[in-house]
C-alpha cells in the first residue's frame, strides 16, 4: 500500500508556521546594517552555505577554523547543506525573517529577491568598485551581484561554461575544434560517422539544456533586449532571437546528442565522456577537476560554444556566473560578517580554493601555475576576455520564467512542443512575474 507521505505538506506547514512566527505582519525592513569594522572582534557569527558536498565542505570548515584561531573571541556557526535542500531551507529562513548573518546565493534574480525583500545588506560602501576590498575582485564577478547600481554580494568563485573535448577521440575522427556553430554541427556528423557519440548530454533535471539556451540566447538576442527581458518588471520575450536560439539547440541535439537525453543524468553523460565514448561534453569550470583526475587519464581541452553565423547578440558573452555570499540586512554582527568575508577572500584563501577544490577564484591573480593546472589557468585567461557573464537562465530570470523554460525545453526535446510553443509558455510566465513584482 502506498503509505501516506506528508513531506510536501509538512514543508508548507513549516513555512506557514515560520511565516506566522517570525514575520508577523511582515513589514518590509529597509534595515541598514552597520558594516563598519568592529572595535573588538567578538561574538557569534552564523553562516549557511550550500556546499555540503564532501569535496567542497572541508575548505569552508578549514577557513572557519583558521578565522576562529586568529580571533579567539569569535564563534562561527557554520551550517552546510546540499544544493536542493538549501533552496528549501533559505526560503523557510527568509519567511521567518530568521536568516543567518551570512548566506549563500546564486547570482541573478535569486539574489535580487533577497534585495527586493530588504533581506540583503547593501555592501557598496565596502565592496563596491573603487573600494580597497572591491578592487581585489574581477569586475565582472562583482557586477553579477549588482542590483540597481548597488553591490549586494561577495563572489566566491568564477564559473564559466565550456565545451570540453577529448583530443584523442576528435583526432581519430579527423575533427578539429570548430570555429562556428555551423562547424560544430558538421563536426558532430563526422564524429557520428566515426561511431562515437558527438556530445555527451544528459538532461534529466532540465538545467543542462538551460545552460545551452543561456549561451544561445546571449548570442542570438541583443544584449539590451536580453537585459530588459530578464528583468521581471519589464520581461516580454518577444524578440525572434529566442525562438531561433531554441531552434538552434534543437538542431544541436538532433545532430550531436541523443533522443533519450531527458532520461539521462548529467553524471551518466559525463561518465560516457570520461570513458572515451563521446567526443565532447558541455560543462562548468567547477567540474574541470573531474577530467584532471580521470582514470585512465584522458587528453582534454576546451572551447567556448561557438557563435552561430549572423547572430544578433553579444558574441563575446560567456555563460557562467560566480556564486556568492550575502550579508543579512538585519544582522547585529554585520561588521564582523564583512570582516569574515574579507578573510575568506584574502589572497591566501583564494589561492587555496583553487588548490584544494579546483575552483577559480574571483580574486585577481589568485590562480597561478603553482596552484592550478593548465586548463584552469587557460579558462581564467578566457574568462577575463569575456565582456560579460551570461548568467544561468534558471537563476537570472524570475522563478516563474525559469520554470517555464525548464519544462518547455524538456517538452521540446521529447517532441511535444515546438520552439514557438515553448516561448508562448515563457511569455505567459513573464506576464505573471511582471504582475507579481508590480
Amino acid at each position: 500500500m502506498t503509505k501516506p507521505r506528508w513531506s510536501a505538506l509538512s514543508l508548507v506547514t513549516v513555512l506557514v508556521a515560520a511565516a506566522g512566527c517570525g514575520g508577523g505582519s511582515g513589514t518590509a525592513p529597509a534595515a541598514t546594517a552597520d558594516l563598519s569594522a568592529p572595535k573588538e572582534k567578538a561574538g557569534t557569527l552564523t553562516m549557511v552555505t550550500k556546499f555540503a558536498d564532501p569535496e567542497y565542505a572541508p575548505y569552508f570548515e578549514k577557513v572557519v577554523a583558521a578565522y576562529e584561531a586568529a580571533n579567539p573571541k569569535v564563534d562561527v556557526k557554520l551550517e552546510q547543506v546540499g544544493d536542493q535542500p538549501y533552496k528549501d531551507k533559505i526560503r523557510v529562513l527568509s519567511a521567518s525573517r530568521d536568516l543567518p548573518d551570512i548566506y549563500f546565493s546564486w547570482a541573478g534574480d535569486f539574489a535580487n529577491k533577497f534585495v527586493r525583500a530588504g533581506l540583503a545588506a547593501d555592501l557598496t560602501g565596502v565592496i563596491g568598485p573603487g573600494t580597497p576590498w572591491g578592487s581585489t575582485f574581477a569586475p565582472a564577478a562583482l557586477k553579477a551581484f549588482e542590483y540597481g547600481g548597488k553591490n549586494y554580494g561577495m563572489p566566491i568563485n568564477l564559473d564559466g561554461k565550456y565545451m570540453v573535448y577529448n583530443k584523442t577521440v576528435l583526432d581519430k575522427a579527423g575533427v578539429t575544434p570548430p570555429a562556428s556553430f555551423e562547424d560544430l554541427l558538421s563536426a558532430c556528423d563526422k564524429l557520428k560517422a566515426a561511431g562515437v557519440q558527438p556530445i555527451a548530454f544528459g538532461n534529466q533535471y532540465g538545467w543542462a539544456a538551460i545552460h545551452y539556451i543561456t549561451q544561445l540566447n546571449a548570442y542570438g538576442v541583443p544584449a539590451r533586449t536580453l537585459e530588459d527581458d530578464y528583468n521581471p518588471a519589464t520581461g516580454a520575450f518577444t524578440d525572434p532571437g529566442y525562438v531561433t536560439a531554441l531552434q538552434r539547440f534543437k538542431d544541436l541535439v538532433a545532430r550531436c546528442g541523443t533522443k533519450d537525453a531527458n532520461g539521462l543524468s548529467h553524471e551518466t553523460a559525463q561518465a560516457q565522456f570520461l570513458a572515451g565514448k563521446a567526443g565532447m561534453h558541455y560543462v562548468e569550470t567547477v567540474e574541470f577537476d573531474v577530467f584532471t583526475k580521470a582514470e585512465p587519464a584522458i587528453e582534454w581541452s576546451f572551447f567556448r560554444l561557438p557563435v552561430p553565423a549572423g547572430a544578433a547578440g553579444d558574441a563575446t558573452a560567456l555563460t557562467g556566473a560566480p556564486d556568492g555570499f550575502l550579508v543579512n540586512a538585519r544582522s547585529q554582527n554585520a561588521g564582523l560578517a564583512v570582516d569574515f568575508l574579507k578573510f575568506l577572500s584574502s589572497k591566501e584563501n583564494a589561492a587555496a580554493i583553487t588548490k584544494d577544490i579546483g575552483w577559480l577564484s574571483p580574486v585577481k591573480d589568485s590562480a597561478t601555475a603553482g596552484n592550478a593546472y593548465p586548463q584552469l589557468t587557460d579558462a581564467l585567461t578566457d574568462i577575463d576576455k569575456a565582456t560579460s557573464f551570461a548568467i544561468w537562465l534558471d537563476t537570472v530570470t524570475h522563478a516563474e520564467v525559469a520554470s517555464a523554460y525548464l519544462s518547455g525545453v524538456e517538452g521540446m526535446l521529447s517532441g511535444s512542443r515546438t520552439p514557438e510553443q515553448v516561448m508562448e509558455g515563457v511569455r505567459a510566465a513573464a506576464a505573471k512575474a511582471k504582475k507579481e513584482v508590480g
Binding site: P4, R5, T27
Partner: protein, 295 residues
Amino acid sequence: MGTLLTRWRTWLWVLPAVALLLVFVYYPIVDNLRLSFFSWNAFSPEPRFVGLDNYAETFADPVFWRALLNNTAYAVVSLVFQAGLSLVLAALLEELVGKRMRGLLRTLYFIPAAMSITVVGVLFSFLYNPRYGLVNAALDAVGLGHLGRAWLGEESSAIWSVIAMSQWQSVGYTAVLFVVAIQRIPREYYEAARVDGSGAVRMFFSITLPMVREMTTLIVILTISGAFLVFNEVMVMTAGGPDNSSQVLGTWLYRKAFFEDDMGYAATVATVIFVITFAIAALQLAVSRRRRYDA
C-alpha cells in the same frame, strides 16, 4: 464533587495532546486555507489579498489537471495491484503453498516495503536508465529491444514507470495484511465447503473474499488516500518531469512553493489535497459506521 474532580483530571491529561493537535495540525490547516486567498512568497514582506484568484488560476492550469489525473491513475493502478492482486497472492500463499515455503515467501514479499523510498527510487532510476539499465537490457535479451526506451525521460512513460515501482514496493505489504485477515477465518468454513465439493476458486469467492471484507475496505481507503498524497517516489525519480508529465499534486505543490516562489498557489493546491483526502477519510468513517450498524 468527586465527578467534577475526575472530569478536570481527565481534561488535564487530554489537554497537552489537544494543544499539540491545535498548534501543529488544525492551525496550519486553517492558516493554509487563509493564505490560499493571498499572493505571497517567502520573500514578499506583505501578502496581497487576491480573493479566489489562486483558485481560478489553479483550475485553469493544465498542469494541475495533469497532476490530478496522475494521482487518479496512481489510485486506480494501486487499487488493482494492492487490493486485488495482493489478495489473490495472499490466498495462494495460504491455500496452496507449503508451511515452510509460506514463511519464506511472506518475508520475501515484505522486504521491499521495509526499504527506504529514496533508496528504492534511486535503485529503480538505475534499472530504468536507457543506456545501462536492466529493464532495456532484459527487453533486448528476449527479443523485445524495440520496446526499450528512456522510461523516466519520456512523457508517455514517466509516470507509469514510477507507478510500477510503487506497486513493486507495496504489493507485498498489503499481501501480508491480507494473510493476517485470512488466517482469522475459521478453518471449519473451508472444511465444510470442501465436504460439499467446492474447489479452490469457489472457496475464494464464497468464503475468503466476504470474510476479509473489513480488511479490504481499510486497504482500499488507505490506498486511495495514499495515492493522493504521493510525493517522495515522484520527487526522487523524475521530479515531475519531463515537461511536467509526471507531476502529482504533491510535487506540483512543492515546485510552486519552493521553486517558483508562488506560495499562494501552493497553498491552494494544498487545500485541494486536503479536501480530497478529507473526503476519502469521511467516506471511510461513514462506511465503517454503517458496517457496525449492519453487524
